[in-house]
Amino acid sequence: VRSSACGEKGALLRVDLTHATHSTESVEAYVDDYVGGRGVGTKILWDELPPGTDPLGPDSILIFNNGPLSGTAAPASGRLDVSAKSPLNNFHAVTNLGGYWGVELRHAGYLHLLITGAREEPGYLWIHNDRVEVRDASHLWGLDTYETTVQLRRELGDEDTQVLSIGPAGENLVLFSNIVTNMGEAAGRFGIGAVMGSKKLKAIAVRGTRGVALAQPRRFLELARDAHRRLWESPGFKERMKQPGYAGMFGDKFASSAAFGNYEDGYWERFAHLEVEEFFSKRLVRSAGCHACFLQCKSLVHIPTIGYGLSGCTAFSSFVGTVWNEDLTTMWEAIILANRYGLDFLQTAGTIALLMELYEKGIITPAQTDGIPMIKGSRDAILGIIHKIGRREGVGSILADGIRGAAEALDSRAPEYVVEVKGLFPHGYAFPALEGASLMQAVGVGDPFPTYGTSTEQAVSVPGPWKNLLTEAKELFGSDEAYLPGNYSPAKVRMVIASEHGTRVPDMLGVCIKPYKVAEPFPLEDLVALYEAATGRALTSAQLYSAAERLVNLERLFDAREGLTREDDRLPQRFFKPIAGGVHQGKALDAEKMEEMKDVYYQTRGWDPQTGLPTQEKLRELGLEKLARVHSSRRRGRR
């Protein structure tokens, strides 16, 4: 079998765990409207998952989605989208991961991998080009994610095998458990580790040597060369290369413009004095690059007796700022431990932060946390709770079901301290000072952290040489208010909508947004040309943005079909209270103005402000009118 290009027969591998069968099929029918990757994956999820399905039941499905550029020479073409219904919030789980696993799947000949059904006994999936087997994994059940990779590579006898696995947290159906690759990359936030766990699927090992065939190889080569060169030569990249991967998240600037603990403070003085650079530079093994990416946004760090791991900004901020931890060795222990269990860093840290605040306020006692005093920054508290959650042991069994339910179970006064958006603890940005990012957070799928315009808004919110950015805001959105903080203007709404579309473009193509963001302006034309040379299909950037808009609407329909209404687009109470310290001290969102801004957002999107859902007219415009009839009833999956 020769390699399969986009749209060819065999681009989707379907594996039925219940009957231990597999087949391949074409995704051709989806490509025109949804391009690939996250777009096609969401449409398949819409088509194949009946509304109200228990995400942890045998009928739930899990889809891994490469895009048409995945695994090619296009810059950073190693980002894999993963789609499922989230057991954490019963909405669409939107998550993705870098590294090499998705690329290996593409090189094995598959754009998409769809897992249906469930096994009775633990199993793992072994994909070696067109050879697909479900094998017994009873000997792997209980192993952590690192051990599983080592064991499977040994068993399969090929060190180049890429392994994706769940740890004990996924096995124990922790609702925020991750799927983790051998490199420590994780698809997180939404509990898809538990989806795999409920299917008794311990791991997926892939080896692919079929490669990716391209419609116009010579042209693709020249375009890819140029695209790489343009990114390296951009001033943003040169600036980025002066700093290692862990830089940018420490020092006074970060300490005074982020959120700390359970969103209790906007400044943490001790954070500014942490010797982060010294800690990491002494322990750095090398910078790490994902497939065909030069950015080095991650660093491979080794600490004897604790182990190897990748450091990224979320891992760092979660187990330092969120849990008031000043000891960087404890941070590293927490990162490795959470990754071995297969736990989401941020959700785990947010849960710990809540317990710490409740303990400080005298709302909970150590008796409620299995004897662990939840003292802010305490090593025993941080590591102790990670173990409890990962094993679903004692208080961990309550915490593992999500932050709001846990608060309700602990004390009647606890829920008012809960910080969550659609069940997810948000990334540590100073949201009360960022109206655009807050809007995107409120109306978004899951927790979209600031990207494109909203990340520019964040940059502009702290002092710096931002004059040219304000000119850009005027050109793109009609007013510099789009980027400037302190307003709820329609220009800001337009900026948020553009950001929402912008994040979906790379997700549909199968590339990582990060290195492209470094370049100014965003090299969209390069991506369009690469797509055409790869697939032989014509595409314009307008079509790409139109597909992104269709995808936003489809994702909204999916969540509506599962019961979402405007009520769910709710921000935590804490975002409306003044920030305690830092550069944004005293800033708070205005609840009434935020609601008005949401009205404008829904109207601009062509959605009904009453329900927050797409109107018939909008759906007709996007060719989605056939899907509209099913989105009215309120249904929920689990509990």
């Binding site: 390699s3 020479a73 090189h107 490669g211 190889p217 080569l221 890819a224 060369r225 090398r286 690059g289």
Partner: protein, 165 residues
């Protein structure tokens, strides 16, 4: 002045951009399994090093080839296999201490770095500088300079405060 490929494993970030461009330019497909250069990762992917033909002065592969099919290209300096004479026996693969020769899994013939006719693409796309293509006379000195920088940084780290240059 002839040039040589020089590899700095300590600069490699394991991104495999070299592999994907190499396979694309030589086979028209993106497939590391058909690349002339491979980034080998060990110890759970922690350590990585690009491995490829070293273009030896007195190549072992040429010595062991039973059909005398391996010769040096006088213009590029690359050690090349005459595909007309190649038996596909794989003795050169077995003999090379670097894995510089390999049997292409699709065609079954021997493939080896051909220096891209004097402008190696792997070196061009390695922005980290882990693979560089330099004049032969600078080859050793560059490696010495790189080692010296590491050594000096280490010395500086242990020097008493105030003694810094």
């Amino acid at each position: 002045m002839s040039k040589k490929l020089l590899i700095y494993p300590e600069k490699c970030i394991g991104c495999r951009t070299c592999e994907i461009f190499c396979s694309l330019s030589h086979t028209g497909s993106c497939n590391p399994a058909r690349s002339r250069v491979n980034v080998i990762k060990t110890t759970q992917d922690v350590l990585c090093i690009p491995m490829m033909c070293q273009q030896c002065l007195d190549p072992v592969c040429a010595q062991v080839c039973p059909s005398h099919a391996i010769h040096r290209n006088k213009i590029t300096g690359a050690v090349e296999t005459d595909q007309e004479r190649c038996l596909g026996c794989g003795v050169c693969v077995a003999a090379c201490p670097f894995g510089g020769s390999a049997l292409d899994p699709w065609s079954g013939t021997v493939v080896r770095c051909d220096l891209c006719e004097g402008a190696p693409l792997c070196a061009e796309v390695c922005v980290q500088g882990a693979i560089v293509y330099v004049e032969e006379e600078r080859h050793g000195l560059l490696k010495k300079r790189s080692a010296a920088e590491t050594l000096l940084a280490a010395l500086k780290a242990v020097a008493p405060k105030g003694d810094e240059p």
